[in-house]
């Protein structure tokens, strides 16, 4: 008996299934959304100043990109710079809070309380203090995004078990080694969860800041387009903002995979 003589089973791969497999599922839902949107606008004859069709928005992108792009760079710059400032302030602060009982009791409640203050409400105040330039935008982005960074980093830095610290001390590890070789790597997954939340909040922060007072950026474009009832242009700007947010989030997620590969290695294996 030979196995080779048997007729090989040819898998009949459905063309639709193959197409589906080529594109990530998230993109499919977007494509479906766009098609439904386009059709309903066209069939329902919805005027452009109420809800523009995706095709109209795409045309707007083509006609207006020379203004969208530089303003997107301004907003993107605020988002990234503000986020980095939030990390540079938030991470060291969380180290202090995690290590010092005094800091935990004195500063930590203040940080939590500060989060209940609506940022939109204090934005005009920041305008009077810092003017119309880059500074108030960065301040608002930092105010919004440093909270999840601090909370998650503190949680991560405190997640090292008592035994782990005993073990480190039994090896004669210095305080610095305990931090660098034990506590910090242990904290990384939790820290990155905070970073990812912060990316989303920093985009919101930048747009809020631009609404309050700006002469450039996508938030400013939305206001100007709104005042002339150019809904299509507003949509083009909103979609650009969304793209900035999604790309930024994906960059941090990719960075996470580079920095903490041990997490994803076993995850991908269980998924397979």
């Amino acid at each position: 008996m030979s196995i080779a003589a048997e007729t090989p089973v040819v898998p009949k791969v459905n063309l639709i299934n193959r197409l589906l497999a080529m594109v990530p599922p998230a993109l499919w839902s977007v494509i479906v959304l766009i098609i439904v949107w386009e059709l309903s606008v066209k069939i329902g004859e919805v005027p452009n100043y109420i809800l523009p069709a995706p095709s109209a928005i795409l045309a707007e992108f083509g006609a207006y990109w020379h203004r969208l792009l530089p303003n997107a760079l301004v907003t993107g710059g605020e988002v990234v710079f503000g986020f980095l400032c939030a990390v540079l302030i938030g991470v060291p602060l969380s180290v202090f809070i995690a290590y010092s009982r005094f800091m935990e009791r004195s500063v930590y409640p203040l940080i939590v309380a500060s989060q209940t203050v609506p940022k939109v409400a204090i934005a005009p105040l920041l305008l009077t203090w810092f003017g119309y330039g880059l500074a108030p935008k960065i301040v608002i982005v930092v105010l919004l995004s440093f909270f999840p960074i601090v909370i998650n980093s503190v949680m991560g830095l405190k997640s090292a078990s008592r035994e782990m610290i005993y073990l480190a001390r039994s090896m004669g590890a210095s305080g610095w080694q305990q931090f660098w070789k034990f506590r910090l790597p242990q904290a990384l997954p939790s820290m990155f969860a905070g970073f990812k939340l912060a990316t989303v909040l920093s985009v919101i922060g930048a747009i809020v800041a631009e609404f309050i007072g700006a002469d450039k950026g996508l938030g400013y474009l939305i206001l100007v387009a709104g005042s002339s009832f150019n809904i299509t242009r507003q949509f083009a700007a909103i979609i650009t903002i969304t793209l900035i947010g999604v790309v930024f989030f994906m960059v941090i997620e990719r960075l996470e995979r580079v920095v903490i590969p041990w997490r994803h290695r076993s995850l991908s294996e269980t998924d397979a």
Binding site: E163, M164, S170, M171, G172, I260
Partner: protein, 263 residues
């Protein structure tokens, strides 16, 4: 009775008190124990008898409230870096491979890393983990993880091994195998072992002497010499003498009220 002069570990008049929420808790009271170099001593007792605390005091990670502990003539008043420690939880670092987890011992101690790596690979091989050197802890079973943590504790050739219920979280079969592995590692590495357990048969199987402790406050109730030949074999557990020891220890714990059969 082993005199303080010939002992490697000498515990004299040691007490430990914790300041809990309900006031002072006497975890250990007036402990006296001498352990010879190369001896395998188990501390056996129910939970709450302070046996883990005793190990922590010998490691220097906790300090005594009264009394004095010396290890190899050295007074213990700070973490004893000459010891290797294994806890019930394997405490592996999730971000490091099996080999890297063993190597952390050498990285912290700043020894010769190349030599340490050779020894680490050799140790992993001795516990049948060759082929898993580059696996992350998440990819290993509970028994494999605890083997890695034992290798980590052995890397720097510590003269003293401190083990706090290291096999307590493992299933019975894995436990048997790891007991055999441990005895082999001990005879190859010439170490003194202080082994904390609440398993009567584990204590008999592994030890030269079993220290029986009773709870509240933790005291040494009895010390029993285990006169079984080495190397120990699993079949010895059916040996008449083994069963005698089991009976004797069970009787002691019954007397202490740890076991109750009549209601």
């Amino acid at each position: 009775m082993i005199s303080a002069a010939e002992s490697y570990i000498s515990i004299s008049g040691v007490s430990k008190t914790f300041n809990g929420r309900q006031g002072e808790v006497h975890a250990l009271k007036d402990i006296n124990l001498n352990i010879k170099p190369g001896e395998f001593v188990s501390v056996l007792g129910p939970s709450g008898c302070g046996k883990s605390t005793l190990m922590m005091l010998v490691s220097g990670l906790m300090s005594v409230s009264a009394g004095r502990i010396t290890v190899g003539k050295k007074h213990i008043d700070s973490p004893n870096a000459d010891a290797g420690i294994v806890f019930q939880q394997d405490v592996l670092l999730e971000w490091r491979s099996a080999l890297q987890n063993v190597m952390i011992q050498a990285e912290i101690r700043k020894g010769d890393l190349k030599q340490a790596k050779e020894r680490a690979l050799q140790l992993l091989k001795m516990v049948s983990l060759n082929g898993f050197e580059n696996s992350y802890p998440k990819e290993l079973s509970g028994g494999m993880r605890q083997r890695v943590s034992i290798c980590r504790a052995l890397l720097h050739r510590p003269p003293l091994m401190l083990m706090d219920e290291p096999f307590g979280a493992l299933d019975a079969m894995t436990r048997d195998q790891l007991q055999i592995d441990l005895l082999r590692l001990c005879s190859d590495n010439d170490m003194t072992v202080l082994f904390i357990t609440h398993s009567i048969s584990e204590a008999i199987f592994l030890s030269d002497r079993v220290v029986v402790m009773s709870p509240r406050p933790g005291r040494i109730e009895r010390i029993i010499d285990i006169d079984l030949p080495r190397p120990r074999r699993l079949a010895m557990r059916e040996d008449t003498r083994f069963i005698e020891y089991t009976r004797e220890l069970t009787q002691i714990f019954k007397g202490l009220g740890v076991f109750r059969e009549e209601y």
